[in-house]
């Protein structure tokens, strides 16, 4: 096993071998989840706390289910409603939680870097469930697993990531992960939704869907993050849909067997045509959700193994 990290804070620090280790273990959990008895005890006796400082239904449910299937005691804390409103700082919250001796802390936060900060202050394994516009590592891992299963490999693929790159932590984690595994990445979107300096990431940038989708193996659509925009990134949603929304006409430029992905939740008729999203021959969107649970089980299993090993060595108190 080549995964030795204490936390899963992002894709950036991971080596290709570590990524493959997580994906390989995830395959086993896919099988478990499809079986009759969806249970294992690898996290038995461990406490998992899901701390979501930002709204989430899907990711939180996925982490909760992953923890429960592995036998952990899972607690959900919705932080928008709690002490943050009372002026408690993130560090105070972390210290309070730490005193409850959690083993796995799953954190989502609206600010980039907040999960890193928290990880410095607690002595348990921390999983980043999305921080600001920075990273969303488990999403990139589940996307990678989905691609690998659909395409039979995870290298030398042409992969297009389309839409609101600027506000997307999913895009950042995916660019990093797919780049590490030597795929050719194209980013397609209006220039107002491209982050500055993006060309230096070793990607190709397009502002035309038809050109960008030419002969790609994978089409990854992103949600237009209207809640993160304070005005004026695009002229209107209908023009956006016309130019950048994925419909059958634009998809025709991709390879015939190209798959369509979306991290969800979808804005049908804004970034993706409803029929494409539901087309079982092209869309792997439902499979992504399934892979999400398996990948999160694998990540937590691996982190728990490292946690136990480190505690046995006395690295952590």
């Amino acid at each position: 096993m080549t995964f030795r990290a204490k936390h899963l804070l992002g894709i950036e620090p991971l080596a290709p071998d570590e990524i493959r280790t997580i994906l390989d273990l995830s395959e086993q959990y896919v099988d478990l989840n499809r079986g009759a008895l969806k249970h294992s005890d690898v996290l038995s006796g461990l406490t998992q706390i899901n701390m979501f400082f930002e709204n989430s239904t899907r990711t939180q449910a996925s982490f909760e289910l992953a923890g429960k299937r592995l036998g952990a005691d899972v607690m959900n804390m919705s932080m928008q409603a709690s002490s943050i409103k009372k002026g408690e700082t993130l560090i105070d919250t972390a210290l309070t939680l730490n005193a409850m001796h959690p083993d796995l802390l799953v954190v989502r936060h609206p600010h980039s870097g907040a999960v890193d900060l928290l990880a410095q202050k607690v002595n348990c394994a921390v999983l980043n469930a999305g921080d600001g516009r920075h990273e969303h590592p488990t999403q990139a891992l589940l996307d990678a697993l989905t691609i690998r299963r659909a395409k039979g490999r995870l290298h030398r693929l042409n992969i297009a990531i389309c839409g609101d790159i600027a506000h997307s932590r999913v895009a950042r984690s995916n660019i990093l992960l797919l780049g590490k595994l030597e795929n050719r990445i194209r980013l397609i979107g209006p220039p107002t939704l491209m982050p500055a300096g993006i060309a230096e990431f070793g990607v190709e940038v397009y502002d035309d869907m038809k050109q960008g989708l030419q002969d790609v193996d994978v089409v990854m659509m992103l949600r237009l993050q209207r809640e993160r925009m304070d005005g004026g990134f695009i002229p209107s949603e209908r023009e956006y849909y016309h130019r950048f929304g994925l419909d059958a006409e634009k998809l025709a430029y991709a390879k015939e067997d190209a798959i369509v992905m979306h991290p969800g939740p979808m804005n049908r008729g804004v970034e993706i045509d409803g029929e494409i999203a539901d087309d079982i021959n092209r869309s792997v969107i439902q499979e992504q959700v399934e892979m999400g649970v398996a990948v999160r089980m694998a990540a937590m299993d691996l982190l728990a193994r490292n946690l136990r090993a480190q505690k046995a060595e006395g690295v952590w108190a």
């Binding site: 870097g113 600001g132 950042r172």
Partner: protein, 430 residues
């Protein structure tokens, strides 16, 4: 008071641009005599205290434009006493203090409080600045005349940009009639709103809100047009991007009364130092690319940028231990200004006398002070330092109440051995 004879020193003269061995005699708070070579050249009075400088550097004390002392309002972050001690230990003999306190220094009454507190508590000189507009709101100009009479040396709203061009042009026109210096922070406010880092690959990788470096040039362009229109004496507090330099150069060539400063952090650090969201590196404007940093160093060496400042900004731990976007900006730097600036000398980018033009001579001249010079008759504000002495910075040993330095754990060179203000030793044991 007996005379002090500083013998066997390496004299750094920023006016002459020289670095020569010699002796300085201090008498009555002023530099009474400078003689070249070994001490025999100086008339030794029997009553003089003789200090052997052992070949170390003796230079005019640093005149630091833009020091934030958090009085009134936030004394727990920094007081005149703690800032004064830090300044003395850092070789800063004049702190030109910022008016962005709580409340802001925008009336003669508040300014008098500052001067009184400063006189009581600080071992180094304090020259206060006042705001340009009331409560730094950018709506109405302050009583520039009264504030000048009360001792304000310049007028600035700090890092808050006067967005309303009409208000700014009137304030500049009025300031011009009183020959007052206006100091501005060139940042186009729309583009820079909410930004925590400079846009580019690093900002995108970290997913942080970013400002284009162009925002600085845009604001400087506007201000240069206003200076041309009003004829005011203008100083840009911090220039930090290469793209702003041509506008500055053009303004100077056209004879506008313009000078510019740069903070020590923009000379010594770049955006990559932020690393994994290290908030002690969050300053305003944000740290720039390495290309920009190198351009700033060259601009100081060529004299295009006139002044190096510490932009000393104390922040307590609570306001820094937050997610990067939410953390407060600013770094303490009174005690690290000199060793950080010496990095430029050690790297061969600039000679000591030229560096001292930016640290003492130019800022003093710009404010109309007679300090900042190593000349007979000038006030004996001096710093004796060993430019080579190595050390590792421990932030908890800083004299500032706030310990928010980006240089914690950094290997630095340059130790202040003694600091004199008006001929009185305020730091060091000799």
């Amino acid at each position: 008071m007996t005379d002090i004879l500083l013998t066997n020193a390496r004299l750094i003269d920023p006016e002459a641009g020289t670095e020569t061995p010699g002796t300085v005699r201090i008498s009555g708070g002023k530099i009474a005599e400078i003689s070249p070579g070994p001490p025999e050249g100086a008339k030794q009075k029997a009553s003089a205290t003789v200090i052997d400088c052992r070949g170390k550097c003796l230079a005019p004390g640093i005149v630091d434009i833009g020091v934030k002392v958090c009085e009134p309002g936030e004394r727990h972050k920094e007081s005149f006493k703690s800032a004064g001690l830090a300044a003395a230990a850092g070789g800063v003999t004049t702190m030109v203090t910022r008016p962005d306190t709580l409340p802001a220094i925008d009336t003669p009454e508040v300014l008098e409080f500052v001067t009184r507190r400063a006189r009581e508590a600080s071992p180094v000189r304090i020259k206060p600045m006042a705001t340009l507009t009331k409560a730094r709101e950018g709506r109405e100009m302050v009583e520039i005349g009264f504030l000048l009479d009360a001792g304000a040396v310049a007028f600035t709203d700090g890092d808050r940009v006067t967005e309303n061009t009409k208000v700014l042009s009137r304030a500049m026109t009025y300031a011009r009639s009183l020959d007052a210096l206006v100091i501005a922070h060139p940042q186009e406010p729309g583009l820079s709103k909410g930004a925590a880092v400079t846009s580019g690959k690093f900002a995108s990788l970290r997913g942080l809100p970013a400002v284009s470096p162009m925002a600085e040039r845009m604001a400087l362009d506007r201000d240069m047009a206003l200076v041309e229109m009003t004829g005011v004496k203008y100083h840009a507090d911090q220039i930090s991007t290469a793209r702003a330099l041509p506008a500055l150069e053009r303004a100077k060539k056209n004879g506008l009364n313009v000078t510019a400063g740069v903070s020590i952090h923009h000379l010594a650090l770049n955006e990559l130092d932020v690393g994994d969201y290290r908030t002690f590196f969050k300053v305003k404007p944000p740290l720039r690319s390495e290309d920009d940093r190198v351009a700033m160093v060259q601009a100081v060496a060529s004299g295009l940028i006139d002044v190096i400042s510490s932009m000393h900004t104390p922040q307590d731990e609570e306001s820094k231990r937050l997610p990067y976007e939410e953390a407060a900006s600013g770094a303490v730097a009174l005690e690290t200004l000199l060793p950080a600036a010496l990095r430029l000398v050690h790297s061969g980018a600039i000679a000591l006398p030229a560096l001292w033009r930016a640290l003492s001579l130019n800022p003093a001249r710009r404010l109309g002070l007679d300090t900042g010079r190593l000349a007979v008759g000038a006030p004996a504000d001096l710093v004796l330092f060993d430019p080579d002495a190595p050390f590792v910075l421990d932030r908890f040993k800083l004299r500032s109440k706030s310990k928010n330095t980006p240089f914690d754990g950094a290997r630095m060179q340059g130790r202040v051995l003694a600091t004199f203000v008006a001929g009185t030793q305020v730091f060091g044991e000799l």
